[in-house]
Amino acid sequence: MTDPLSKSGLSRRSLLTTAVAGSAALTVPARANDPAITELQPWMQSLGDGVDARPYGTPSPYEADAVRRDVPWLTADPISSVNFTPLHKLEGIITPNGLCFERHHGGVAEVDPAKHRLMINGLVDKPLVFTMEDLKRFPRENHVYFLECAANSGMEWRGAQLNGCQFTHGMVHCVVYTGVKLKHILEEAGVKTNAKWIMPEGADASAMTRSIPIEKALDDCMVAFAMNGEALRPEQGYPLRIVVPGWEGNMWVKWLRRIEVGDEPWHHREETSKYTDLLASGKARRFTWEMDVKSVITSPSPQAPITHGKGRTVLSGLAWSGRGTIDRVDVSLDGGSNWTTARVDGPSHTKALHRFYHEFDWDGEPLLLQSRAIDSEGWVQPTKNALRDVRGTESIYHNNSIQTWYVQKDGEVENVEVG
């Protein structure tokens, strides 16, 4: 096993320091020669691993920092819990499978696909059972969709709390799903005319259930067995999950074993006790399914400070909406007084992450960075205070407000609120 980190005896921090010093040297008239060039590095001389060293490839050991992380104090135990996508480490719009955040209610079920079944019952002409092999005989489709937990940014309702976009916004991921449109499967069973709702159910120890209106089920819902070109990961519902584009992640039931068709919603725990939005009036909204327009700057951010000093700087971020595509992202460097429209780059899929950039010359003075997304339906991302004015601070879910990052003179970045 070669581990460059341990071999060199350098800590990550000292590596970072070296990198900072090295790049700083470039801005000064160079006298000293760069040892990265003038000295022979080990990888230039000795042979590396052969082709079978990693039958399933893994990232460079220098990328050991790009991992999911949890916030231990959030939940009672690590089994019914959540961790967060390292958004600050990602590029483009696709989340690698191993970095997609996890949220389980009964741990990661390890399901044998040969013993997995999907049952369709309730208000159908003929209740059916499908094996995984049966499902792969339906016409397949590929779609890129984000999945966001309704509680993403839920810890920030009362104010700036967690220092890092991984923690404030990391309950989102975006992958390309391969699967079958749910309508084909429902049509196979024959949906009765009085059907108004469906209820997907998981095979895990929490047997997760949610009520979904039949219109959505017949519109763009999918039953997916692959993500980013390979089988679903166990923590994302292997071998089968329902895809409910643009809607609360909790509805995307994993380890999908059954779909019941009915004429009324079920009002189960995850749509009454949880995933209802308590307002200041004491009333709670229910069935708030769509994830609203939202954006966050992923760099600079608390976990991705500016290390190169003043001068040319790339601001990068993500925007998404459960109601369509992103039409525009504005960014502010002064806490929301003045805005410039950012450059959205890369593919623009409906209900998928969008990548935006804004390049600028940093003068080395403190900045208050914000981003504001506008979606194809004309919904505008609100400020934190605008959202609190209408929702109070106890909604938990659907916090899509504008995030502020405070960039200090030394390039360090902090999560703050502004007034």
């Binding site: 059916l128 006790s273 608390p302 209408v390």
Partner: protein
């Protein structure tokens, strides 16, 4: 057998083809790449019809899957609705439910439903929904009693789902409602027939989605310059709170296993099997460097240690008594305990039903030997 698709042989469906829904085929944000060459305008109509046939209707035999049998549906169709649909035969009273609750539920939810640690609070919170810190419980928040029945039955106790009989679920539901003063009489029998008599205090507390309740372009363009009254001030800083987890990289993130130095007769293969068995224990017990007491005590060094000896853990009277009598956990005693916890030690707080398989017990004990 492979079949090539010959359009002329495709049977015409008896029912009309599904119309193309509005929006379908227009692409979803980005244009769908098509490899079809543009046909002449005369041919286009027919061509589009065929393309529609191919793209939107499988036009294949309607024979995937197989009928579900009544017994299969009965095994999986466990959901309950507010109108009572799905409730089975049977029943139970709060008085029936109390001992079951204390045995199976109180270790996490507390004897009075107050919740241990961060486990869910089940009782109290009446009239707090408009408060600064509302307490959302079954009594103060849940709109339907059917949800309680359904959830206990499908997912509780945590780590031993669907182990309760229908009568036990009725009894527990009745007891939880009794603890919330929703049922007054401890001998009220909750059944499919009496379920409709339950009135949940917050049933009327829910409203429909009212969005958009924030700005849309229909209400005007967002401000682009001089949008604030003077320079912006920082009003709150996350660093002051200091609740963000440490994010320094470690080489083996999350790996907490400490391997003991060459313990005699240690079977690594068996221990590896035990690691899987331990998943059943992991809901309540932790091992390793970062292990803490949870619902159950941490288990580092449990093999060879006196029973009831983990600091700061609140043991049951039964466990304290066993400890006073000199119980030591070794492969033999722990094996007996794990086989049937509440038979071996009547009154233990451990609500786990036990490991009936001897191999599983041996494996998990071997696994535990690794942790000092």
């Amino acid at each position: 057998m492979l079949k090539s698709v010959d359009l002329s042989l495709l049977p015409l469906p008896a029912a009309p083809l599904l119309p193309l829904p509005p929006g379908e085929g227009r692409g979803e944000g980005i244009a769908t790449r098509t490899t079809l060459t543009r046909p002449s305008s005369k041919a286009r109509g027919l061509f589009t019809a065929l393309a529609t046939l191919l793209l939107t209707t499988p036009a294949l035999a309607n024979d995937l899957g197989r009928p579900a049998t009544p017994a299969e549906i009965a095994a999986w169709d466990i959901d309950i609705r507010p109108d009572g649909q799905g409730l089975p035969e049977g029943g139970g009273t709060p008085a029936d439910g109390e001992p079951i609750y204390n045995d199976r539920c109180a270790s996490c939810h507390g004897v009075f439903g107050e919740g241990e640690g961060r486990w869910p609070v089940l009782t109290g919170g009446d009239g707090t929904l408009q408060d600064d810190r509302p307490v959302k419980t079954i009594g103060s928040y849940w709109p339907y009693a059917s949800t309680v029945w359904d959830y206990i039955h499908r997912a509780m106790p945590f780590g031993d789902a669907q182990s309760l009989s229908d009568d036990e679920v009725y009894a527990l539901t009745a007891y939880v409602l009794y603890m919330n003063d929703i049922i007054d009489d401890e001998d009220f029998e909750l059944t499919r027939e009496t379920f409709g008599e339950i009135e949940m205090p917050n049933e009327g507390g829910f409203i429909a989605d009212e969005r958009p309740d924030t700005m849309t372009l229909a209400k005007g363009e967002p401000c682009m310059s001089d949008c604030t009254d003077g320079p912006v001030k920082i009003t709150m800083r996350a660093a002051v709170l200091d609740v963000t987890p440490q994010t320094e990289a470690t080489t083996d993130e999350g790996e907490t296993v400490m391997v003991a130095a060459a313990a005699p007769a240690f079977d690594a293969g068996l221990a590896e099997k035990g690691k899987k068995v331990f998943k059943k224990c992991g809901a309540c017990h932790q091992v390793g460097e970062k292990a803490k007491n949870r619902t159950g005590p941490l288990l580092n060094g449990v093999i060879g240690k006196e029973a009831g000896a983990v600091e700061k853990f609140r043991y049951s009277k039964a466990m304290k008594k066993a400890a006073a009598e000199g119980l030591i956990w070794n492969a033999e005693t722990l094996g007996w305990y794990l086989e049937a916890p509440r038979t071996y030690m009547k009154g233990t707080k451990m609500s786990f039903k036990g490991l009936s398989d001897e191999d599983d017990r041996a494996a998990v004990i071997e696994y535990l030997k690794q942790f000092e």
